[in-house]
Each structure stands twice: as C-alpha cells, then as structure tokens.
C-alpha cells in the first residue's frame, strides 16, 4: 500500500501551511520600506529529488521559507491576494485527497460495505 501518498500529502500540506505564513508576512509588511518579499522553496526541491531518486520521495525534502528570488523588491498586494486564494484552495484540495484516501481504506476495512 502506497504510504508514499500520505507522506507526500503531508509534505505538501506543510509547504502550503508555510506558504500561508510567508504570504501573511508579505501582506503584513506591505508598507515596510526596503522589504524583500518571502517565498517558499518546495516544488523545485521536490522535482529535483524525485528526478534523482526515480519517483519516491526522499526524506531530505523539506519546505523552507526564503526571500523571493523572482527579483521583486516590493510587495504587490494584488499578487499576494491571488497567491493567498490559490494557496487556500490548494491546501483544501490536499486535505480532500487525504480524506478520500482514508475513505478508501475504510471501505477496505469494512469489506466493501459502507
């Protein structure tokens, strides 16, 4: 049984939770002069690690917060709101996926009965 799915979902949930903090931090500092927006480094790490290990998720992948490297030196409030919405939906869909996986296991435990 692929417990990889749960591990991956948990990592992605951690990343989304961290990203929520980064976005909240950017919004909180929307009027701070000289502030460099923060982002979360996760997807690149994951893609790199999965490419190297051939599909499975190595334990070394860990989302962390870093300054946004896209070259923006000012917080764009509208873009942060877009990212916020996107992140919330992403987080909820991850939870939904985990929930459905739980349902599948529950079905197996109940021998197919509801």
């Amino acid at each position: 049984m692929a417990s990889d799915v749960v591990a991956l979902a948990r990592l992605a949930l951690d990343a989304a939770s961290l990203r929520q903090q980064a976005i909240a931090h950017n919004i909180a500092n929307a009027n701070t002069p000289g502030y460099v927006p923060l982002g979360v480094n996760f997807e690149q790490q994951l893609a790199f690690a999965r490419g190297a290990s051939g599909g499975s998720v190595p334990a070394s992948v860990k989302p962390f917060i870093e300054p946004d490297t896209s070259g923006t030196t000012r917080v764009a409030l509208d873009m942060e709101m877009v990212k916020l919405t996107q992140n919330t939906v992403h987080y909820q869909s991850l939870l939904k996926a985990l929930d459905k996986r739980g349902s599948i296991i529950a079905t197996a435990v109940n021998e197919g009965r509801r």
């Binding site: 919004i27 909180a28 500092n29 929307a30 962390f64 870093e66 709101m81 919330t88």
Partner: protein, 144 residues
C-alpha cells in the same frame, strides 16, 4: 500548529496598519493646530515599521527563519518645515505677522490613509484564509 503563527503574523500586520491609521488621523486632526501641549508648534508624525523575525526555530527553517510579521519601530516627528500663513491678528503670529501651521500635506496623508486601509483589509483576508485552512484541517476524516 503552524497556522497559529499565520494568525500572529496577520495580527501584527493589522496592528501596524492600525497605528498608521491612528497617526494619519492625528496629523489630519492637527492640520490647523498652532500649538502642541508643551507650547511649541505641532510636528506631523510618521510611523516607521519593519519586518520582524521570529527567533525560535530559526536554524531549522533555513536562512530566512520563520517569519514573525511586522512591527512599529518608532513613531517619529517628520522634519517637514512649517507652513507660514500671514495672519497678524492671530495670537500665535510671530513678529512679522506669520503663523506657523504644521507642514502637513493633506494629499499625502490621504494616500497614506487609503494604502493603510487597504493593507489592513488584506491582513484581514489573510487571517480569514488561515482560519478556513485550519478549520478544514479539523474536518479531516469526519465524513465517515
């Protein structure tokens, strides 16, 4: 839980923008004040804010550390020169008949007001998003 830090971050941002709103309101309210409490002229105030870094777990979360929100570093008097108006009958007029009104730029104050208001609203939106996420996480596995 991680998301509680997001609540704290949004709260700190709201607090900073609230201070900015207060100070802007104070400046506008005193646009025509010729005396402060101590007898000198009223000086316009400005809020200096900065990003705050949470110390805990800093090493564990990479170089940037766990974000700690925003904070007001200081509320200082702005060095704007006073606006001189010729009113010889005013009790605060100087020897040449000029009254020194605070150097408050109403346009700039209004722009600060609007941007602080919008930033406050954005903080509230971020807080609500964190709340939705946390509540959904609590729902996990409840539909069975």
């Amino acid at each position: 839980m991680d998301l509680f830090n997001a609540f704290a971050i949004s709260a700190s941002g709201m607090s900073v923008e609230k201070t900015r709103l207060d100070v802007t309101a104070l400046n506008i309210a005193n646009a025509h004040s010729t005396r402060a409490r101590d007898g000198s002229g009223f000086q316009p105030l400005q809020v200096i804010s900065a990003a705050r870094q949470a110390r805990a777990f800093q090493a564990a979360f990479g170089a940037a550390g766990l974000p700690g929100g925003a904070e007001v570093v200081e509320v200082r008097t702005s060095p704007a020169p006073p606006r001189l108006v010729h009113e010889p009958n005013h009790p605060d007029a100087d020897a040449r008949g000029f009254v020194a009104y605070p150097g408050i730029n109403p346009v700039r104050e209004m722009v600060t007001l609007i941007s602080a208001l919008r930033a406050y609203e954005a903080n509230v939106a971020a807080l609500n998003a964190a709340k939705t996420m946390a509540l959904r996480a609590l729902d996990l596995g409840s539909n069975r």
